[in-house]
């Protein structure tokens, strides 16, 4: 079978599996819809959490980011895994013991206030929609590249699939499809990585291959070679830090704290039977995540070596077919500055901004004509970092079924995360806004209908953003983590670890953290992007890392306000006592 047929077969088979699971796991109560009935085995939940967490960004973009950032890319590796230690030690067991359905549920009850609940809902919706738009876009890109349908059609197909299992099966359907999606995506990620590690180093384990000698007989280590080649081409050495230490520190911290404060990740731990299961389950989640996250830096380094080898000083006419495919999609471009027909790749942008192609016009060597004015430096090649994972198997000349697997895997990564996000959005609307705040008298069946309706609306909005992406999707990723770190995370932690934090303190803290972080990011990203340089930053911290400072703003103001306001009622202090001990977890229930 040719590669294209294989791709249709793999993607089609995986979709059939997801829909099958959706039909098998239809739900009839809100408890099943919100938290899958609360009886999910901790290892199963760990696997579902891993798929929930690892998005299109983890699967498609992260290795490419690391390939181009080198050591600086470590912020993503440590930041997106270290948060699980915080989840397991500081949040998950206590929230499971609390035994409700949503994150705003906890905030609302712990701070005995509907205002606190609604502020938490606002944070949740902002964080989750930011995220989900990116997933839908990822689905569209994968469809357009691998299945030759246009991006909009890809988004619609993706929406339909998510619609099936999120609306019919709620958390229960999502949990079991996420398990299937984890298997698809991890297989799809590791198989090409093993092949490439074998080719480059002779060691089949990518994590070890990254620290091995090259198989080309040069006797050099992979990272040593990469450092040497990059410095030679005018780049920074791969293993050297280029951002300031304080910024690396703050970004890592913001990503860790943000991870621990993401509602769609937290609710996964509401689905296990006991508080002690929540601890183990977080451990399993990190095991399953680490398989991808420790492979990614190897994939990144190998991809960079492969890319330089296959492009630099290669005549355009001799370059691999896969580059021409990506050139057709506008993700790769070449401007022959010295007119020699050979691609020269080195440090610096080949031209300002993204390539602006002159329709289908071709240059002297057959390349697509780029109309951007060339820059002074010698670099002629433009490459979008996102192609690194998608194109890697083809660049390395791997068989067609591996390419097909990567297509199915990247769709699994995007769909699993999108579904988890849509569920927390819909349950916060039907449960927190409707049932708990404005319409307390609706029945369970009515609440379930509302949850399904909210899920449908959320899918349509997400699809709209997927088809008409706001230009700033990539830039607002910092929002999701920064806001979670500065708003929800401290509110939850203070709710568990202090008995005295009251509603006034918590509400002021959340709003202050939210407004501070939001304004800082908006100011540097949208209002005055020209000022977005280290000299103007607060303490030298970039917008990506400002959530770390936002957390201190939140906590500081919360304690300040607490001193001058009424103390926490006795029944709330008793509630805190109860969630601190695991005994008597019981099932989640509605009051």
């Amino acid at each position: 079978m040719d590669t294209q047929t294989l791709i249709y077969f793999f993607v089609g088979a995986s979709f059939a599996l997801y829909i099958g699971i959706a039909i098998w796991s239809r739900v009839e109560s809100t408890k099943e819809f919100y938290i899958a009935g609360g009886g999910i085995h901790p290892v199963v939940n760990g696997m579902a959490t891993a798929a929930d967490w690892m998005s299109a960004a983890s699967f498609i973009s992260m290795a490419g980011l690391i390939a181009f950032l080198g050591y600086d890319g470590s912020v993503y590796l440590m930041g997106w895994t270290g948060g699980y230690v915080l989840l397991a030690l500081l949040l998950a067991p206590y929230l499971r013991k609390f035994g409700k359905f949503t994150v705003p549920d906890f905030i609302g009850e712990r701070y005995y206030s509907d205002t606190a609940r609604l502020v938490a809902v606002v944070c949740l919706i902002f964080i989750s929609f930011t995220y989900v738009a990116g997933q839908m876009r990822g689905v569209g890109i994968v469809f357009s590249r691998f299945l030759e349908v246009d991006i909009d059609m890809g988004v619609i197909i993706g929406m339909t699939i998510v619609f099936f299992y999120a609306v019919l099966g709620g958390m229960k359907g999502i949990t079991y499809t996420q398990v299937a999606q984890y298997c698809v995506l991890i297989f799809a990620y590791t198989v090409p990585a093993i092949f490439i590690s074998m080719l480059i180093t002779g060691n089949p384990v990518p994590q070890l291959g990254l620290g091995s000698e090259l198989a080309d007989g040069s006797g050099m280590y992979v990272l040593e070679k990469l450092d040497a080649v990059l410095v030679d081409l005018g780049f920074n050495a791969y293993t050297e830090r280029t951002k300031s230490m304080v910024d690396i520190f703050a970004i890592t911290a913001a990503l860790m704290l943000g991870t621990a404060g993401l509602p769609h990740v937290i609710v996964r731990f509401f689905t296990v039977p006991k508080a002690s299961d929540a601890r183990t389950s977080a451990g399993w989640a990190l095991v399953f995540i680490a398989i991808l996250y420790t492979t990614a830096p190897a994939v990144g380094a190998f991809a960079r070596i492969n890319f330089i080898d296959s492009v630099n000083n290669t005549p355009y006419s001799a370059v691999a077919e896969v580059y021409k495919n990506y050139e057709d999609l506008g993700l790769v471009a070449w401007k022959d500055k010295n007119g020699d027909g050979v691609i020269q790749y080195s440090a610096g942008a080949p031209f300002a901004g993204k390539p602006d192609f002159d329709g289908e016009k071709r240059g002297a060597s057959g390349e697509r004509t780029v109309t951007n004015a060339p820059t002074e430096n010698a670099n002629e090649a433009y490459v979008d970092r996102d192609i690194m994972v998608l194109a890697n198997p083809e660049i390395a000349g791997l068989p067609g079924w591996v390419v097909a697997l990567v297509a199915a895997g990247s769709l699994a990564a995007a769909l699993s995360t999108a579904a988890g996000l849509l569920l927390v959005i819909s349950s916060s609307i039907s449960h927190d806004v409707m049932k708990k705040t404005f319409m307390p008298n609706i029945s369970d069946a009515q609440e379930l209908r509302a949850a399904r309706l909210a899920a449908i609306v959320a899918i349509l909005i997400a699809g709209y953003f997927g088809i008409n992406p706001p230009g700033f999707v990539a830039q607002v990723v910092a929002f999701a983590f920064g806001l979670a770190a500065a708003s929800l995370f401290p509110a939850i932690i203070m709710g568990i670890f202090t008995k005295s934090m009251n509603k006034e303190g918590a509400v002021v803290g959340m709003l202050a953290g939210l407004v501070f972080t939001f304004s800082y990011i908006v100011y540097f990203k949208f209002v005055s992007p020209e000022l977005n340089v280290a000299d103007n930053w607060l303490f030298g911290i970039s917008p990506e890392g400002i959530g770390f400072v936002g957390m201190f703003v939140n906590i500081g103001l919360a304690f300040f306000v607490k001193r001058f306001t009424t103390s926490t009622p006795q029944d709330v202090q008793d509630l805190v006592e109860t969630i601190r001990v695991p005994s008597g977890t019981g099932g989640a229930h509605i009051h």
Partner: protein, 99 residues
């Protein structure tokens, strides 16, 4: 298993139960403190603050600080969570509050 008989209805036992809950929470916080210290040291310490210093040491084909930042810290994170889960199970049983 709990050594003390559970009779929450009687006031002196309620007092004892409160004391036990306090001691349980202290034991939990102590364990948390130790594990979070390790968490901080391997990531922010070895991977970031001490990375320039550790990079002078070679660990297989890696510079040591770079290895902690891109591989080592993640492995330690996993161990930390399972150690916490295991130790807490024991503490839960010791204080008779297991679920």
């Amino acid at each position: 298993m709990s050594e003390q008989p559970e009779q929450p209805d009687q006031p002196e036992n309620a007092e004892a139960a409160r004391g036990r809950a306090k001691a349980y929470w202290r034991a939990n916080l102590k364990l948390l403190g130790k594990l979070l210290a390790v968490w901080f040291v391997v990531s922010f310490g070895f991977g970031i603050l001490l990375q320039p210093f550790l990079d002078q040491f070679q660990f297989f084909g890696f510079k040591l600080g770079f290895w902690f930042a891109q591989q080592g810290s993640i492995y330690v994170f996993i161990v930390l969570i399972f150690v916490y889960s295991y130790r807490m199970k024991k503490i839960d049983r010791e204080f008779g509050v297991e679920d």
